[in-house]
């Protein structure tokens, strides 16, 4: 049903000269509730050439990005035999999540400059380093940060992650782990041919906590004292209850 609608929409837009890109995301609203262990998003859609026919030779790249945050990254160094924090570097826009998938390895479809402009890859993420250290240090810190995030499952690259069927329909599966940050995620889709990005489209995915999980977070953020008192009460009651229970046994 959805596919049919997409195709229809694609034909309706046929008058344009650029390639047509009609993207869709399987879920625009990811609900984080009890038992959430992560989820898988399906980014799919259709790509057609300007005359509305199956586009030959198009490559598709999809980029899913989480909300950004400023951070300070510290680096440990050996000092008199002991590992202590030494240098640090600030980054003003670090995405909490970053995934890129493409139908072919990026270096085979675009040059480095284009890849850097469109952030086609974890090494091209625009982290906005600040501070006065030299570019070499910046690169070292950025590599460290990306490596750390990759091992947390929050940054990933899949150079074979987009399947294109019959030159028209494409799909990519991107998994969100349970430790994702809530907020607005942007899913960008790019159609690439002959080393150029010829069409792009963006859609949004809202990741939010619902139900008890949302209440708990809201309560802890806005009523700290009450929340703390409640936590203490829970502890004391459970401890006391167990004591009573065992005394009777």
């Amino acid at each position: 049903m959805k596919w049919a609608f997409l195709l229809l929409a694609a034909f309706a837009l046929m008058g344009q000269r650029d390639a047509l890109l009609v993207p869709e995301v399987s879920q625009h609203d990811v609900q984080v509730r009890q038992g959430f262990t992560g989820t898988e998003l399906l980014l799919f859609g259709a790509v057609l050439d300007p005359r509305g026919r199956a586009g030959q030779g198009y490559d598709i790249v999809v980029v899913l990005k989480g909300p950004t945050e400023p951070i300070r990254l510290r680096e440990k160094e050996r000092f008199a035999g002991v590992w202590i924090n030494a240098e640090s570097s600030d980054f003003r826009s670090v995405p909490s999540y970053f995934a890129v998938a493409s139908s072919q390895p990026i270096e085979q479809i675009v040059d480095q400059k284009t890849a850097a402009i469109y952030e086609f890859g974890t090494r091209y993420i625009q982290l906005s380093p600040s501070g006065n250290i030299n570019p070499e240090d910046d690169r070292r810190f950025a590599r460290g940060l990306v490596d750390l995030k990759q091992r947390q499952g929050l940054y990933k690259e899949d150079m074979d992650g987009v399947q294109i069927t019959q030159g028209v329909l494409y799909q990519a599966r991107i998994s969100l782990p349970s430790n994702v940050t809530t907020g607005t995620y942007t899913a960008e889709t790019f159609a690439v041919t002959q080393g150029r990005v010829i069409a792009s489209a963006e859609s949004q995915v809202e990741v939010r906590k619902v139900g008890l999980e949302r209440e708990v977070e809201f309560f802890s953020q806005n009523f700290g004292l009450l929340y703390g008192a409640l936590a203490v009460l829970l502890s004391v009651l459970m401890g006391w209850g167990a004591g009573r229970l065992f005394a009777r046994l």
Binding site: F141, L148, Y227, S235, V236
Partner: protein, 301 residues
Amino acid sequence: MDVYLPIANLSVNGLWIVALGALTGVLSGLFGVGGGFLTTPLLIFYGIPPTVAAASASTQVTGASVSGVIAHGKRKGVDYRMGSVMVGGGIIGAGIGALLFRFFRAIGQIDVVINALYVVLLGSIGLLMARESLQLLRGTASKQAARRRHHPLVASLPWRWRFYGSGLYISPLAPALVGVVVGILTMLMGVGGGFILVPAMLYILGMSANVVVGTSLYNILFVTIATTIMHSLTTRAVDIILVALLLIGSVTGAQFGSQLAVRAKPEVLRLVLAAIVLAIAFRMFLGLFYQPDEIYTVYPL
């Protein structure tokens, strides 16, 4: 069993967390230590953010010590007067600790400071306890050790009170100072401080051994309540779901622990505790010198 933790922002296997709680519960009932020095590192190892781990562990210790205090209180194992003096000192200490925490965090050395504190404190206390209990077990020097009274410096402090439960006539300034030190460490290291409190009561204050465990738990109970409130107001890192899971394990564990404690020989208990404390100190010691798994750490701005 997957459980999503709303403050820690990740999903965990609930059964592992309950098992971890049970382990620390047995320790707390058995030795009168809160078990925070074990829970916090293990939670961090599991992947829980360090601040959430430390804050939630302190709340869990509250619950584990309630059942312990009740169990020990029934057999007259708590000196409430001594305990309350220490709590007073502990709350002042927690405030000082919070300031120190902020200072070390600002200069970016908080994790090094915490590691070094663990090594120095756990190492020296573990060695002290191991030596003492080995001597007691072998029968050498057992008479002197059993008759040992409080430290000479304690006797020189003015303004004496009678502490009937502990069998002492000393200045309340001594236990209050002990409380301050423990309070600072509670805030800095995210632990209840029982592993410092118990030896301090035995070797510095010279309290009679049968009230040491109960009084230590009594002090931990109130200091961790204060710490929980402080965390809820500042770091907002107490995860109530994580706390509940840990508690299910630890309150039952604490009951078994305190029943075992009555039956076991105190010298053997102390040797076992010394071994655990030394093992953790040794692990932390290696951590200072070996290349860490993570060279880079992220601090939100």
